[in-house]
Symmetry: C2
Subunit: 234 residues, 2 copies
Amino acid sequence: MADSDPEQTVERKRGSGVKLVYDLLRDEILDLKLAPGSAIDEVALAARFGMSRTPIREALVRLVGEGLIETLPNRSTMVSNIDFLGMHAYFDALVLMYRVTTRLAAQNHRADDLVEIRAHQAAFSAAVRSQDALAMIATNAAFHSAIAASGRNAYYAGFFDRLLGEGRRMLRLYYQSYEDRLPPRFVDEHEEIIAAIEARDVAAADRLGTAHGEQIVEQIGRLLTQHERQDIEL
Amino acid sequence: MADSDPEQTVERKRGSGVKLVYDLLRDEILDLKLAPGSAIDEVALAARFGMSRTPIREALVRLVGEGLIETLPNRSTMVSNIDFLGMHAYFDALVLMYRVTTRLAAQNHRADDLVEIRAHQAAFSAAVRSQDALAMIATNAAFHSAIAASGRNAYYAGFFDRLLGEGRRMLRLYYQSYEDRLPPRFVDEHEEIIAAIEARDVAAADRLGTAHGEQIVEQIGRLLTQHERQDIEL
DNA sequence: TGTATTTTTTTTGTCGACAAGAAAATCAGA
DNA sequence: TCTGATTTTCTTGTCGACAAAAAAAATACA
């Protein structure tokens, strides 16, 4: 491990340290640069970022709150393992949130929400064209997160964001299943969703959001040996 | 303010301090013993609990993560205000979670889950009989939380628990609206829900969970001047 | 050689102290 | 008396150091 990586030896603004560490660590975990189960050393991080253990610790506490890292009392701090057993539960929740947030967006969105949503869709489309799986995950999440925000329900939006974040690692598996073959269908589906939202067609948004989410479940279902779906029939 | 309240001057086990402070502070916030908007003083807490600011700080960071307290950079830490504007959003989410968790419980519960659920129901029934609003809120939350847990979806259960916690302050308003008149109807509805779960009648559980939740919305709707409901039609 | 016990090492949890930022208080000048 | 600058105060953010807990290593003994 190269400790010739001072990262940031410059003067930082008071209070910016925790956010710096938190953001970077979170990204490294979600992008699997830090493997699930790998140990986290506070002093190493402190040295790496050129700061005391205190702000490092605060960042870690926050990450624990999000379930991204786990701590055994007095012993070891490690990156949380991916819960493959709870995978179907995860995708159940994800599909429902896809659906609910899309639906609410059709009801409550404002005009300027659409320009932001379209911007994210453009970024997603670009990621698909360039076959960049990591970028696809990120931009897809941003797209749906923007839709959720336009639905004006902070509780759904917060839960959804959390799911998208926590699932970034699982979603890699999903995107890997497409390997080199790109799914341009998703780009089209996003366009349909945007149209339904703009037309304030709640029923269509509901249907499209559900279908969009269920595609993921089906694809994952092909990956997992057995897979119990639980539909919320509408 | 009486600083003749050493609370705990005894030797504590290493690592137990944060949990102590976290639990107590959380309860005090949710029970409105600490008023929304009131300031939180780290040094005062440190003195009160007879410990350094470090563990206090960690507990506060955790509470910030749950949205129960807010911090202005470099200045003041305070109990979060209740978001009355987002109230309809809150109850929308709550109703949906009532429904989804009850439904899943009917599908996935195990035999021993029922004894725990029934125990919580007994406690709730007792709280209703003794007209203890605070106990009613707590036992009702525990009842539904147990149902959610028996549904075997950690994501829904976690989100639901968070809603129940965050809403404990709002729910007070709801229970206050019944003032002295007790709602024994809720006890009966709980019984029906238990029966539906035990019979694994998913449709009935779905219907009962929804209806149970919507009662709250209607009651709150009588309290709020205007109130936009958004149904997820089934 | 294998096992129980002691010692060392490693990592976390806690502490007291200090510095930075921002608000409150004080002061100066008209 | 009012207004703007300056000082003080108060709270937070960060630091380095130390103690406790647990694992790892070393040792003793059969």
